[in-house]
């Protein structure tokens, strides 16, 4: 594998061909915020949080899918990008009903963490207060659409890793919603294997274990990468 040298925020970085700017930056100790991205799942570049500036291009590029190239000069935290990220987070907070104080994921929520990262002390945009349902039909898990940021991690993990494809995105635009089966109660969908991977990868408290109370959801989405690695190792073993 040939090596590409580039500069990220003034640091010289050497990365293998095919590496993404996001991976290269993380290897170099530069944190670029993400939400829809999760190692082990196909990238969708939908949340736009990881947009970076690349010299010579007037368009912002999502670090999660942009491959490194020789001589590339990347800026990940310019004032313009900071402002964009804060707005993205504000857009997410205002389009749902994110009430951290009464959320199972309080204290262990990626959205909450990103809000701190981007310096969001309040939303400059008005809250929308949409009317969204909660699905408690599954025996072990629950889905609170109020807390869903439509990152589609659950859709991808169920399809790409578990192979059950219980979830999909339905409707469109502001009416987008995660559905199980034919937009049925989750508990009524035969395809679900109750594996809980969707709960594990959910960045917020939208998918949770029933019985968890406020701040009791302690999932670690990065476990997915470890799980996939173990699976690969086993497949490759003689």
């Amino acid at each position: 594998m040939s090596v590409r040298t580039l500069r990220i925020d003034g640091r010289d970085v050497a990365s293998g061909e095919g590496t993404t700017v996001l991976e290269a930056a993380r290897d170099a100790g530069v944190a670029i915020p993400t939400l829809c991205h999760l190692e082990g799942l196909s990238p969708v570049a939908a949340c736009r949080l990881c947009l970076v500036e690349i010299e010579g291009s007037n368009k912002l590029q999502p670090a999660c899918i942009t491959p490194v190239s020789e001589g590339m000069v990347v800026h990940t935290a310019t004032p313009r990008l900071r402002e964009i990220r804060r707005t993205v987070i504000e857009l997410l907070f205002t389009e749902g009903n994110h009430v951290c104080a009464v959320c199972v994921a309080n204290g262990h929520c990626e959205l909450q963490d990103r809000a701190v990262d981007v310096g969001m002390d309040h939303a400059r945009l008005p809250y929308r207060f949409p009317d969204r349902p909660v699905d408690l039909s599954h025996q072990r898990f629950g889905l609170d659409h109020n807390r869903c940021i439509l990152c589609s991690r659950c859709v991808r993990v169920c399809d790409e890793v578990e192979g059950a494809h219980v979830w999909d995105m339905a409707w469109r635009g502001e009416h987008c919603r995660i559905i199980a089966g034919l937009d049925q109660p989750w508990g009524a969908v035969d395809a679900c294997t109750d594996c809980g991977k969707c709960v594990m990868v959910c960045p917020t408290g939208a998918l949770f274990h029933k019985g968890d109370s406020v701040a009791e959801k302690h999932e670690d989405p990065s476990r997915l990468a470890a799980l996939l690695q173990a699976r690969r190792a086993r497949q490759e073993a003689p």
Partner: protein
Amino acid sequence: MSQPAKLRLATVWLAGCSGCHMSFLDLDEWLIELAPQIEMVFSPIASDIKTYPEAVDVALVEGGVGTSENLDLIRQVRRRSRLLVSFGDCAVTANVPGLRNPLAGPAAVLDRSYLELADGSARWPHAPGLVPELLERVLPVHELVPVDLFLPGCPPPAERIRAVLEALLRGEQPQMEGAEMIRFG
């Protein structure tokens, strides 16, 4: 910022659970340090004055704006205060009181609370002039009047409140960044 001899401090309680005020009381012995540096001119926990006074330096406003009374008061607070602080998540985001907003207006909220969920004697509270009317929605303070500083948290931890007050007493702008200072919830 020129420092007045004593900071005229007010705390205001709108649509919230008073938890932010309780957190303020959690400042414990530091309150004793604070006392000589301020004049508490209006507060549900430290004063009997019912009318919001003029020329307040700093107002800590807990709660969202959910009733006609809240709305009148916050407008008065804005007019009469130099620095208005949204104090806690309800003031900053509408938070728990805002959970009623997806329901279609006050009638639906009253039906749900006083009729559907009632154990007995189900009826709407009705006392014109005594019980203030619910607004269409509970809103964060800054969606109605300009806010100078946001102090999130449910409740904001006592340390966070102290850091803000200390900065203000020094005549500095509090640095609202990092998980210690601006985490919601």
